[in-house]
Symmetry: C2
Subunit: 420 residues, 2 copies
């Protein structure tokens, strides 16, 4: 291990102390005090390493290393926020790796007297997780124009606090508008077991899974949970429970693990112990390797819902839907990563990402290269048990630094096309 690797791991331990939980995880929901502390520490790290730091109107923190005056930037980053009681690697690893990769690359260029083609910048995207404030990937969503800034700033958490108020409370808003970008790159943990099972150190992210999220409202009618005759009830909780079971059962129509589904957030009204619920709201999350599978899954679900509506005398309304079609990453970027991993002597393979990432947004507006390192502990994520070995963290940083260096040197053809 080099001294720079040791310095990276030391910084990683320090970073993991902000919002640390009892079981080695972190709890740093967006714009909470713990998120603010992590961001402040990260700003300090950037400034002390020569970055110019600024914040945009949705709270994304940018650190710029201008090496070639006026040249476009290669942007590197991920997110420092976390789910509740989450792991310390998800997002945070990528942000710290971005800073260290940029520093190493800059130092190498300076030492060698190299003038690169592009400058380097790093970013901590605000609220990638989307638990306190919805939707997820909020900072990169506003940056890429997918989300409306004013609407997002007015979004409230469960306590009625707006994004604008929460960002203000952590001194997390600015007016920065970043310069033109030549490329975006991100490294992240896999959050699945595929690479660890296969013994792959470097994942070359080749495509996203398709994902559909359906906002559902099950409507019944309030009544007394003891006195009302069963046949007169229109129980929204029972209807919702049957939809949840149906969302799981529909997987039986597909090859094992080809489709994933879940419901993980529920709101019941009035949520009183002796009143049959009038309404349950939740999000159905279905993901698949290919978009065609999702269409089939949706058809199965519609059939199941029609039966549930009749059986439970409730209505099941879809009040909103978000669709992310499966999308490939740039082949030239995958090849660039592959050759870096190959040259540096690390096992590597093409991998799909089942989770959404800021890179999923960024690849729509700029040439984007994404890398994974393995997740141990059966690939568990959004859990304090989330784990990646120091060796894998350092290997990932090594390959990522090489990729970043080559991106700065203009080796990705699409970086030049993007700026035309």
């Amino acid at each position: 291990m080099t001294s720079t690797d040791a310095s990276f791991l030391t910084d990683f331990v320090t970073m993991s102390s902000f919002g640390a939980t009892a079981n080695s995880g972190v709890d740093r929901q967006a714009a909470t005090a713990a998120d603010g502390q992590t961001r402040d520490w990260f700003v300090g790290l950037l400034i002390s390493n020569g970055f110019t730091v600024d914040i945009d109107p949705i709270g994304n923190i940018f650190g710029l290393l201008e090496m070639v005056p006026g040249a476009p930037y290669v942007l590197l980053g991920s997110h420092l926020d976390s789910q509740p009681l989450a792991g310390r690697f998800d997002g945070a690893y990528g942000v710290l790796a971005a800073a260290h990769a940029a520093i190493r690359t800059r130092d190498r260029f300076v030492a060698e007297g190299t003038t690169p083609t592009f400058n380097l910048a790093v970013v901590d995207w605000f609220n990638e997780e989307g638990c306190r404030f919805k939707p997820s990937m909020m900072g990169s969503g506003v940056f890429t124009g997918l989300l409306d800034l004013a609407k997002v700033l007015a979004t409230k958490d469960a306590q009625g606090v707006t994004v604008a108020e929460a960002l203000h409370a952590i001194n997390g808003v600015g007016t920065f508008s970043p310069p033109p970008l030549a490329a975006y790159s991100e490294i992240h943990i896999e959050q699945g077991r595929g690479m660890d099972d296969a013994g792959t150190t470097i994942g070359l992210v080749s495509s996203t899974w398709s994902a559909r999220k359906y906002e559902i409202v099950v409507r019944g009618e309030q009544s007394h949970s003891g006195a009302t005759r069963m046949k007169d009830r229109r129980d929204a909780v029972l209807g919702a429970a049957k939809v949840i079971v149906a969302v799981n059962d529909l997987l039986k129509n597909f090859e094992e693990e080809a489709v994933h589904s879940s419901i993980s957030e529920l709101y019941v009204a009035p949520n009183s112990p002796v009143t049959v619920a009038r309404e349950v709201r939740f999000l159905i999350d279905i993901r698949a390797r290919e978009s065609s599978l999702l269409a089939q899954a949706y058809a199965h679900l519609q059939d199941a819902i029609a039966l549930i509506e009749a059986e439970c005398r409730v209505t099941v309304e879809e009040v909103g839907a978000s669709i992310w079609e499966s999308g490939p990453f740039l082949e030239s970027g995958i090849e660039l990563s592959r050759s870096s991993a190959e040259t540096l002597g690390f096992t590597h393979d093409r991998v799909l990402t089942l989770a959404g990432h800021d890179a999923t947004n960024m690849k729509e507006i700029v040439p984007t290269v994404m890398l994974f390192v393995p997740s141990g502990a059966d690939g568990i994520s959004h859990n304090e048990r989330e784990f990646t070995t120091d060796a894998d963290l350092v290997s990932g940083l090594t390959v990522f630094t090489d990729v970043v260096t080559r991106l700065a040197l203009g080796e990705l053809p699409e970086s030049h096309l993007a700026l035309k």
Copy 2:
């Protein structure tokens, strides 16, 4: 309709204006501002009608009419609090009917120069509904010694406000300790459709249904709702949904409507859209005509839960249980009510109560007589559509007044035994 009936209905309309909702209901959860306004109005009504008013340490409001110095009291009452978005009849009708029945009885004794055996008192029991603060029937529970005062005062609502703080905020606490009781009587809406379907005006409550409430925690493990392999998941929401369906399915083992079951309140952790839930907490409410049916229902449920635990890789733990065995009301009280209804020319029948009431607590410590009036609108309750006709409200008050008069005259033999 007599002028006193008209005065009752006018007071009922005024009372229904506190915490009124858009659809003719009320929303007066315990110790909220709306509950406080209703209580204050009720205290004013009592004082202006010659009652001496005081409040006990758990916020029960007592109004005393002492007609025979030093004699024990016949207590009449119900509750002014409501479920969220509830009907205007549940509880409130009984409190107002108690006040009017006591006033009519007192006025008749004064006019006739009658000295009764017992004095009269009315009560608004605090927090019968148990939605904001659990458990339900809190005020009568403390009064009868079923619940511990200190523990109850420290109970918090979902926002962390204690019962003590909430009661203090509405000036709802005192130090009153009521005098000895000779009897308790309560009139309430049926909250079911049985009487309305049968054309019965006066329900002679003969027994409570058995009820069991099980506090359940389903425990899984947090993970990423998109990335985690389905076979690696331990999804607490899926496990909970299957338990909810099982609690409904177990009714298939019984005669129709012989057993009721529901789950109406759920808490999911972490309740984030992209994190498989680690924990779901809820209360299973099962009620039946006889306790033996509940034991059978519980056995069926245990079998179902064992399968769900294995299938979903979750644990389903029962962390608490409350059991109310079915219990008869006093036969002499039922006969006293029957003869009053008969003499006054109202249709009547023995009825069971599926819902719990303050009378359910009171009958354990003092001879208790309970009456029902019909619920229209298919018997719906805990709903703004809850409805009882003015004619039925007035008929109920007429019979209740006669019952109260006879109780005050010492016609219930057990009232004398109770004081030995």
